[in-house]
């Protein structure tokens, strides 16, 4: 009794904060949780006309079915492979870019290159895919034509399994690294220049200044982003794989988002695609909570 009333009293002292929170809570409730009722289709034999309420319950049958699908295991493996590789190479790149950009003293050069660097983010992957094939195609791609004219052997960048993997990761990282560096640049902008001055006086060279001052200051941003990206490791981008895949290179190109597209949008099988989405989300949330836990153990703020 005493505890409860003091809890309410303490909450009461913070009433202004709760008022502020009201707006986002309402938005999240209405627009995000409002449509989550649709997740129930993963447990039903969903018929569009019957709707969510009247469609038959089938329990875990849908999940059993998708886990039993021949290429589901392959899709899981590929999804993890592509996302982990992209994370591995794509996570440090924006940081490196931000650090390098920060070292550029010429204001105009810095501004121009910054603007150029985030251009790929604005192109949809459909366009990037088409350009990629024009560049990297074996028979008539610009790069291969160049290699050929220099006397080298043509490289199947997108038309052989292992090469495809490499090219896919390269293009994915390339597309997002410029845009990703923005947030690190913002974090670096918040670093107190006096710290740099003090370090220089102490004899630190440029490299040491980066390692000992800049990096620690952007650590928390990096950890936050890392945790959030880990949550997407079972999901990932549909568009990038779809735009770059072709019928001859099939080892790594079936992923869960592609399956969801084939089932959901192409096949109209909403129960199955919702179930796959749930599987993705479930794994994602577990990973986020787990990595948050680890981060806290390591002394970081963590997400939650």
């Amino acid at each position: 009794m005493k505890n409860k009333s003091s809890l309410i009293r303490r909450m009461g002292k913070q009433w202004q904060l709760y008022v502020l929170l009201l707006i986002p809570i309402v938005f999240a409730l209405v627009f995000k949780y409002g449509s989550m009722i649709g997740l129930v289709t993963a447990l039903k034999d969903y018929k569009v006309v019957k709707g969510f309420w009247d469609s038959e319950w089938v329990g875990l049958d849908v999940f059993r079915k998708i886990f039993g699908m021949k290429n589901f295991g392959l899709a899981v493996r590929n999804t993890l492979l592509l996302n982990i590789l992209t994370l591995l190479f794509g996570f440090p790149m924006p940081i490196i870019l931000a650090l390098l950009l920060n070292e550029i003293k010429n204001v105009y050069y810095k501004r121009i290159t910054q603007t150029l660097l985030y251009l790929p983010h604005f192109l949809s992957f459909v366009i990037i895919g088409a350009i990629a094939y024009q560049l990297f195609g074996m028979n008539s791609g610009v790069v291969n034509n160049l290699i050929d004219s220099l006397g080298g052997a043509r490289i199947p960048f997108l038309q052989e399994d292992m090469h495809w993997l490499f090219t896919y990761v390269l293009i994915s990282v390339w597309q997002s690294m410029g845009w990703g560096s923005i947030i690190y640049l913002a974090a670096i902008a918040g670093v107190n220049p006096e710290l740099y001055e003090a370090a220089t006086i102490d004899g630190a060279n440029r490299f040491q200044r980066i390692i000992y001052i800049t990096l620690p200051c952007i650590k928390s941003t990096a950890v936050t982003l890392l945790i959030m990206n880990l949550g997407k490791v079972m999901g990932g981008s549909f568009e990038s794989v779809f735009a770059l895949r072709n019928a001859a290179t099939t080892e790594f190109t079936t992923t869960i988002p592609v399956l969801i597209y084939q089932f959901g949008i192409m096949g109209g099988k909403f129960s199955e695609s919702t179930a796959m989405g749930l599987f993705q989300s479930g794994v994602g949330v577990i990973l986020v909570l787990f990595s948050d836990f680890i981060a806290k153990k390591m002394g970081e703020e963590g997400l939650i």
Partner: protein, 298 residues
């Protein structure tokens, strides 16, 4: 003597490092601008050469007809303004919501902090799917309205988490404590302390919201059907570019495919992308180091 030597060799090392850095960044930037040069070249070439895939970086047969067509098309101009208006409203709303969520939850002593953060975070990973979302928008009578493009996505858990982290780490506790002692309300703290001190992150998230809204078309694809006047620009672009690559149905329909000319598509891509690029220079100044200097000193 040795000190000068050391300083000189540090100077040369620095100079070499500088050159390397400039080169690397320059090279990477060049690869980033390549696709755009390609599209720009296509947009001013003659259709017959573009169809044959002959245009890569250099235009063939320079003509500006496609741009004339784009700029003279009332519906494209209208959708441009729709996009601008929707983006501005969306960004403002999104920033307000994000700040209202991030500031309270950055206060470590808020009761229920973890639970509420989790409540928000879950929305990042679970969503009902296309049909439930459509039904929701339908039941709120928002179909075919601009509100359908502004309200549903205004709360972004991703941006919220970024801002929360930023507030937690870059706003010194002492500052807020002293504000409490001065008797300031939370609203005053938010307005007078938090916002001015968070300019870089606010600039960043404003950019994220604006660009995210400007580029997205899939919600407009589903929600704006009958009222063609409020189709945003990216949806028009999608219809031009993506829709025409769908040749699946036409084999059954048995008629020649109607496509928009390649050159027109390229011109539209340029038209849809260049405006948003112009926002960046205005935002860049917030990324200059030392913005926070004066404020942190007590």
């Amino acid at each position: 003597m040795s000190k000068t030597n050391r300083r000189m060799s540090t100077c040369t090392t620095n100079k070499i490092a500088d050159i390397c850095i400039y080169l690397i960044i320059g090279l990477i930037s060049a690869t980033c601008v390549l696709p755009f040069i390609h599209i720009a070249a296509k947009s001013v070439s003659e259709e017959v050469y573009v169809i044959a895939n002959k245009v890569f970086l250099i235009p063939e047969g320079f003509i500006l007809d496609a741009y004339k067509k784009v700029l003279n098309d009332a519906s494209i101009i209208r959708s441009f303004f729709v996009s601008v208006w929707v983006t501005v409203l969306f960004t403002v709303l999104g920033m307000i919501i994000t700040l209202c969520a991030a500031y309270p939850l950055s206060r470590k002593n808020l009761i229920g902090r973890k639970k509420i953060t989790l409540f928000f975070m879950i929305t990042m990973y679970f969503n009902g799917g296309m049909i439930p979302e459509y039904l929701l928008v339908n039941s709120l009578n928002l179909l075919d309205t601009m509100a359908a493009l502004i309200l549903p996505l205004a709360f972004s858990a991703y941006n919220f988490l970024i801002m929360k982290t930023s507030l937690q780490t870059s706003i010194p506790e002492s500052l807020i404590e002293s504000a409490y002692l001065d008797g300031a309300s939370e609203f005053r703290i938010l307005g007078n302390i938090i916002i001015p001190l968070s300019k870089p992150i606010i600039a960043t998230l404003t950019l994220f919201y604006a660009v995210g809204r400007w580029n997205a078309y899939s919600d407009a694809l589903f929600y704006i059907k009958q009222n063609v006047n409020i189709r945003p620009l990216q949806l028009k672009l999608y219809n031009l570019v993506i829709a025409s690559t769908e040749s699946i149905q036409d084999t059954v329909e048995g008629t020649a495919m109607l496509t928009n000319p390649e050159v027109l598509k390229a011109a539209c891509i340029m038209f849809a992308t260049v405006p948003i690029l112009c926002i960046y220079p205005f935002v860049q100044k917030y990324f200059v180091q030392g913005t926070l200097i004066g404020s942190v000193k007590e």
